[in-house]
C-alpha cells in the first residue's frame, strides 16, 4: 500500500513537471539547453588544456651551477644566484633556431614553428641534506623528458674531493633510475630516460674537457660501486623487522669490473656527456645543451 502511494505521488509529480502547462518544465528545459553546451565546452577544453608541459630535471651537486643554468635558460642572460634550498619549476622556451625533435617533420615554413616550444625546467637543491627533493622528482615524474646532471668540470681531476662527491650523487641517481626498470610499476610510466651529463664551467682554466670528465666519472663510479657493495649494511636491515631485500644495488652490468655509461643502455637509460659554460668572459656557451634539450622535446 505504502509503495503504491509513494509511486503514485512520484508519478503525479513527474506529470506535473512535464506537462506543458506548468512553467517548471519549461524552465528546466531552458536551463538544460543553456547549460549543456557550456558544460560540454568546459569539459572538452579543460581536458585538452590540462596537458602537462614536458619537463627537464636539473640535478647535480651544490655549486655546479644548476640555478645559474636555470636562469640562463629562462631569461637568456645570467643572473646572480646562491645556494638553493627548495626546488623550483620554471617555464622555458626553446630559443630561435632550434626546433624540437617532435617538430622535425614539419615544413620550415610551418607557422607553428614560429611559436617556441615550451617546457618546464625543474631545479633541485644540490646540498647533501636536501637531495630528497631531487629523488622525489625522479621517482614521481610528470611528463619527464630528460635529466640534466650538471657537474663542475673544474673539480673533476682524479683525487679531487669534488669528483668523489659528484660521483656519489650520480651513482645514486643512476641507481634510482635503474631500479625503476627492475622494480616499481608506477615508475614504469617513464619508459626511456636520457641523462645529459653537462660538464659546466668549461671557461675555467682548470676544467677538464668533456671526454675526460666522462672517463674520470666512470672510473670513480666504479670505485663507488665497489665500496658500496663491500660496505656495511644499513641499520634496520637484518635486525628482525621489515626485511626488504634491496640486495640489487649493483649499478650497471652485473659482474663487470669497470663501469661504463654505456652499460646503462640495458636499462633504457642513455647517458651523454657534453661540455659548456653558463658564465664566462665570452658569454655563455650552452648551445650543445640546448640542442640536447630540443632533441628531447
Amino acid at each position: 500500500m505504502e509503495n503504491q502511494t509513494v509511486a503514485s505521488s512520484v508519478q503525479d509529480w513527474v506529470q506535473a513537471v512535464i506537462s506543458p502547462s506548468s512553467p517548471l518544465g519549461l524552465i528546466l528545459a531552458v536551463l538544460l539547453v543553456l547549460t549543456i553546451p557550456i558544460a560540454l565546452h568546459r569539459s572538452v577544453f579543460k581536458a585538452s588544456g590540462l596537458t602537462v608541459l614536458p619537463s627537464i630535471l636539473l640535478l647535480g651537486p651544490s655549486g655546479s651551477g644548476k640555478t645559474a643554468l636555470l636562469t640562463l635558460f629562462e631569461r637568456g642572460t645570467n643572473a646572480a644566484t646562491h645556494t638553493s634550498q627548495s626546488p623550483i619549476a620554471v617555464e622555458c622556451s626553446l630559443p630561435v633556431g632550434t626546433t624540437a625533435a617532435s617538430d622535425k617533420y614539419r615544413s620550415t615554413y610551418d607557422p607553428t614553428n614560429q611559436t617556441h616550444k615550451k617546457f618546464l625546467l625543474i631545479d633541485t637543491p644540490g646540498h647533501g641534506k636536501l637531495r630528497h627533493h631531487a629523488l622525489q622528482n625522479i621517482t614521481n615524474p610528470k611528463n619527464l623528458k630528460g635529466i640534466i646532471f650538471l657537474v663542475d668540470a673544474a673539480t673533476m681531476s682524479a683525487g679531487n674531493g669534488g669528483l668523489r662527491q659528484t660521483a656519489d650523487y650520480l651513482h645514486d641517481v643512476l641507481l634510482v633510475l635503474q631500479k625503476r626498470m627492475t622494480g616499481g610499476k608506477a615508475m614504469k610510466a617513464l619508459k626511456e630516460v636520457s641523462v645529459l651529463i653537462a660538464a659546466n664551467k668549461m671557461d675555467l682554466f682548470t676544467a677538464l674537457p668533456a671526454a675526460l670528465v666522462k672517463k674520470s666519472l666512470e672510473s670513480e663510479i666504479t670505485k663507488v660501486r665497489a665500496s658500496r657493495s663491500k660496505g656495511l649494511l644499513d641499520s634496520g636491515i637484518g635486525m628482525g623487522e621489515d626485511v626488504d631485500d634491496d640486495k640489487d644495488d649493483w649499478l650497471g652490468e652485473t659482474g663487470s669490473s669497470e663501469f661504463k655509461f654505456s652499460q646503462m643502455e640495458e636499462f633504457d637509460i642513455t647517458v651523454e656527456v657534453a661540455g659548456g659554460n653558463v658564465t664566462g668572459g665570452d658569454g655563455p656557451g650552452v648551445d650543445k645543451w640546448w640542442k640536447w634539450v630540443s632533441e628531447r622535446l
Binding site: 647533501g128 641534506k129 641499520s235
Partner: protein, 666 residues
C-alpha cells in the same frame, strides 16, 4: 656603511641586490648552508618568529655581519651585509622595512608559478629608505647629544674659545650656540650671538660639506641629507629653529624661507665665506646669522615637501613607502587587537574547530602550542634530550606558523609530517660517509695527485664504559673483511687490563679473518706512558711497516673533567687522526648533549669530531633519541650504529629507519 643588500628566493635566485662594495657570494652562500640548511643556529638564539630581523641572530662570517629575515610563504630571504666592525643601529629596521615594501610591491609577481623573473625597479625605494633611516638614526644621536649639551652647562672657557678661533670644534660650537639661543628675546640674542657665530658656522659647514661630498651623490638634496645630521652643529641649530618657531611665529617667514634656503646652501660651500664674516658689517652679519637658523627651520618643518618640490618622483615614492609601512603597522596592530567580542570569538572558535577537521586552516601559535607540547613529550619519551627536543619543536613551529593545513588534514598530522622532514634533515649527513673510499683515497692516492701514500688514522674517544674498545674491534673486523692491513694501538695507558683486553680482541680478530687475508697487529707500550706520544710513535711505525689503517683506542674520560679532556688536544695534534670518532651509548639520556659538545670542542680550535658511533642501539628498542641529541648538539653525523654483541653487529645509519623509530607511537 652597508656593504650589500640582497633579496633572494629559497630556490637560490637573486631577485634584487645592491652592493656598495663588492663582496664574495660565498658569504651569503655560507649563511644559507649554515643557518637555513644545516640549522647551526647560534647558541642563545631563542625562537625567532620570522617577523623581525632583530629577532634573528646576526650571522658572522669572514669579517662580515649578516642580518637577515625571511618571508616563508613567498620563499624570500632578505640579507644585509656589512662589516663587523661597524655598528649600524638602523640595520634591523632597514631589513624589516625593505621586506614590507618589497612584499607589498611585488607580492603578486612572486606568487606567479613557473618563473623566477620579478620585474622590479626597487633601487629608488631602497635608496630613499636608507636615507630616511640614516637620517632618523642620526637625528636620534644628535638629539641625545643636544640633550646632554643642554643638561650639562657648557664650560665657559669653551664658549670663549669658540669666539676666538676660526675653526672651532663643532661640538663646542653647538654648545655655545644652544646656550646663546636659550635667551628669551630674539633681538638680544642676535646681538649677542653675532660675533660668536657668524664666523664659526661657515667653516664648520664648509668642513662638513667636504666630508659629505664623497659619501653623498653630489645632488643638493643628498648633500643636505649628509650634511645636516653629520654636523654636530645642527644640534645647536635645532634648538635654534625651535626658538625661531616659538618666538617668530608672527614674522612673515613663508616668503623669505625660500630665498634664504637657496642662498644659504650656496654659501655653505663657497670659500668666499671665510672672508665675508671677517669684514662683516653689522647688517651683513645679521643676515649671516639669521640664515642658518632659517635653513634649519625649513629642514625641520618641511623636509618632505622641500624635497618634494625638487623631485616629484621621490615625493611620490616617499608617500607610497610610508603608506605601505603604515598599513603594515596597522595590520600588525589589528592582529594583536583582534579577537574581541564574545560573538566574534564564538564564531571563530566554531570555525576554527571546523577547519581543524576539514583543513585549510591557517595555523597560529595558539593552535600549535598544545599539539607541539604533545610532540615534545613524544620525543622526550624516545629519549631525545630535552634541549634537542625543544629545539626541534621550535623549528617545526617556526616552519608551520602562518601556513595552511591541507584538505582534511589535522594539525597533528601536519606537525607529524613537518617533524619527520625536520628529523630527516638533521640526521642526513651533508656529504657521503663512505669510509672505505676515504681510506682508499689516502692509502693508494692516484698517480696524478701529489699526495704520498700514508696510513689512514682513526681514533676513538668517549666516556668510560660506552664501548670504545668493542666498537674499535668491530670497525677493525669490518676493515679486515675488506682486506686492509690494520694496526691497533693501545693508547689507554691508564685503566688496568685495557691493553690486555685489546690483545684478546686482536687475537680473536686474527683467528676470524686470517683465512680471508686480513692482517692485524697490536701496538702497545704498556701502562703509564703518555698516550699522545704512543699514538705518534704508532703512526710512524705503521707508515714504515706499510699498514693501511691505524686504529687508536683511547682511555675513557668524563667529559666534564677538564684535566682529562685537555690531554685530547695534544693527542689530536700528535697523532693527526683522519677521523676522530666519538662513541656514545644509546642508553644515555640528557647528558648526551653535553658529552657530544664537550668532546667536540676538546680537540682545539682547528679540529672537531668527524662522526659518532652510537653503541648499544639493540638495548633501547625504539628509544633511539640519543642519535638526534648528539647530532643536534654538534652537527656531526652518525657514522655507525652498534646493534649487537658480535663483531659483525655494526651498521651504517639508515635515516629512514631512525626516523621511523622515533616517530612510531607505542
Amino acid at each position: 656603511m652597508l656593504d650589500s643588500f640582497e633579496i633572494l628566493t629559497t630556490s637560490g635566485v637573486v631577485l634584487w641586490s645592491k652592493s656598495y662594495t663588492p663582496i664574495s657570494p660565498s658569504i651569503i652562500d655560507s649563511l644559507i648552508t649554515n643557518v637555513f640548511i644545516e640549522e647551526r643556529t647560534l647558541p642563545g638564539a631563542g625562537i625567532a618568529d620570522d617577523i623581525s630581523a632583530a629577532n634573528n641572530p646576526p650571522y658572522k662570517h669572514d669579517q662580515h655581519t649578516l642580518k637577515w629575515t625571511t618571508v616563508k610563504e613567498l620563499g624570500l630571504i632578505f640579507v644585509a651585509v656589512y662589516r663587523s666592525l661597524l655598528h649600524l643601529s638602523w640595520i634591523d629596521k632597514l631589513v624589516d622595512n625593505i621586506k614590507t615594501i618589497f612584499v607589498d610591491l611585488y607580492g603578486d609577481q612572486l606568487k606567479k608559478p613557473h618563473t623566477t623573473i620579478v620585474e622590479c625597479h626597487f633601487d629608488e625605494y631602497f635608496d630613499r629608505q636608507i636615507q630616511q633611516l640614516e637620517k632618523t638614526a642620526l637625528n636620534q644621536d644628535t638629539r641625545v647629544a643636544e640633550s646632554s649639551a643642554l643638561l650639562e652647562e657648557a664650560p665657559p672657557s669653551l664658549v670663549e674659545d669658540s669666539g676666538d678661533e676660526p675653526p672651532p670644534l663643532p661640538g663646542i660650537l653647538s654648545r655655545g650656540q644652544s646656550k646663546n639661543y636659550r635667551d628669551p628675546t630674539s633681538n638680544e640674542s642676535t646681538l649677542i650671538a653675532t660675533p660668536d657665530n657668524s664666523r664659526p658656522t661657515t667653516p664648520a659647514g664648509h668642513l662638513l660639506t667636504g666630508k659629505g661630498g664623497p659619501g653623498g651623490k653630489g645632488s643638493r638634496r643628498a648633500r643636505k641629507a649628509a650634511n645636516s645630521p653629520l654636523a654636530h652643529a645642527s644640534s645647536g641649530d635645532e634648538s635654534n629653529s625651535k626658538r625661531t618657531r616659538a618666538g617668530k611665529a608672527a614674522a612673515p617667514k613663508k616668503g623669505r624661507k625660500w630665498d634664504a634656503d637657496g642662498l644659504a646652501d650656496e654659501d655653505s660651500d663657497t670659500p668666499l665665506d671665510y672672508s665675508a664674516p671677517a669684514n662683516g658689517a653689522t647688517s651683513g652679519d645679521d643676515e649671516a646669522k639669521e640664515r642658518p637658523g632659517t635653513v634649519e627651520k625649513v629642514d625641520q618643518a618641511s623636509w618632505g615637501s622641500r624635497t618634494g618640490k625638487g623631485q616629484f618622483v621621490l615625493k611620490d615614492l616617499d608617500d607610497q613607502v610610508n603608506s605601505i609601512l603604515a598599513t603594515a603597522d596597522a595590520k600588525k596592530a589589528d592582529s594583536t587587537a583582534a579577537s574581541s567580542g564574545i560573538v566574534g570569538s564564538g564564531i571563530n572558535a566554531i570555525g576554527g574547530f571546523f577547519r581543524n577537521v576539514v583543513g585549510g586552516k591557517t595555523l597560529t601559535k595558539e593552535d600549535l602550542d598544545k599539539a607541539m607540547k604533545g610532540m615534545e613529550d613524544h620525543l622526550l619519551r624516545k629519549n631525545v634530550a630535552r634541549e634537542a627536543a625543544v629545539r626541534l619543536c621550535e623549528g617545526v613551529e617556526r616552519e608551520l606558523i602562518g601556513t595552511k593545513t591541507g584538505n582534511f588534514e589535522s594539525v597533528q598530522k601536519r606537525i607529524q609530517i613537518a617533524m619527520e622532514s625536520s628529523l630527516r634533515k638533521i640526521l642526513t649527513p651533508t656529504s657521503s660517509l663512505d669510509l672505505l673510499r676515504e681510506i682508499d683515497a689516502v692509502t693508494s692516492p692516484s698517480a696524478t695527485s701529489l699526495q704520498k701514500k700514508r696510513p689512514y688514522v682513526i681514533s676513538v674517544v668517549g666516556v668510560n664504559g660506552v664501548g670504545k674498545s668493542t666498537n674499535l674491534s668491530k670497525i677493525c673486523f669490518f676493515l679486515l673483511q675488506n682486506k686492509y692491513k690494520v694496526l691497533i694501538v693501545a693508547c689507554d695507558t691508564f685503566r688496568s687490563g685495557a691493553v690486555e683486553q685489546l690483545a684478546v680482541h686482536v687475537r680473536n680478530l686474527k683467528e676470524l679473518t686470517s683465512r680471508e687475508g686480513g692482517e692485524v697487529e697490536l701496538y702497545q707500550k704498556g701502562y703509564g706512558k703518555d698516550a699522545a706520544n704512543v699514538a705518534k710513535d704508532a703512526v710512524n711505525f705503521a707508515a714504515q711497516e706499510g699498514y693501511d689503517v691505524v686504529l687508536i683506542d683511547t682511555a675513557g674520560r668524563r667529559h666534564n673533567d677538564q684535566r682529562l679532556m685537555s690531554s685530547l688536544e695534544k693527542f689530536a695534534k700528535f697523532a693527526q687522526p683522519d677521523k676522530i670518532l666519538m662513541v656514545g651509548e644509546a642508553l644515555v639520556g640528557t647528558d648526551s648533549v653535553a658529552q657530544a659538545r664537550n668532546f667536540n670542542t676538546a680537540f682545539g680550535s682547528g679540529r672537531s669530531l668527524d662522526g659518532f658511533i652510537i653503541s648499544k642501539c639493540d638495548t633501547v628498542g625504539d628509544m633511539v633519541g640519543t642519535l638526534v641529541s648528539m647530532v643536534h648538539a654538534t652537527n656531526v653525523p652518525v657514522l655507525f650504529v652498534g646493534v649487537g654483541q658480535h663483531y659483525s653487529d655494526l651498521r651504517n645509519l639508515s635515516v629512514k629507519w631512525a626516523v621511523e623509530k622515533l616517530l612510531s607511537s607505542n
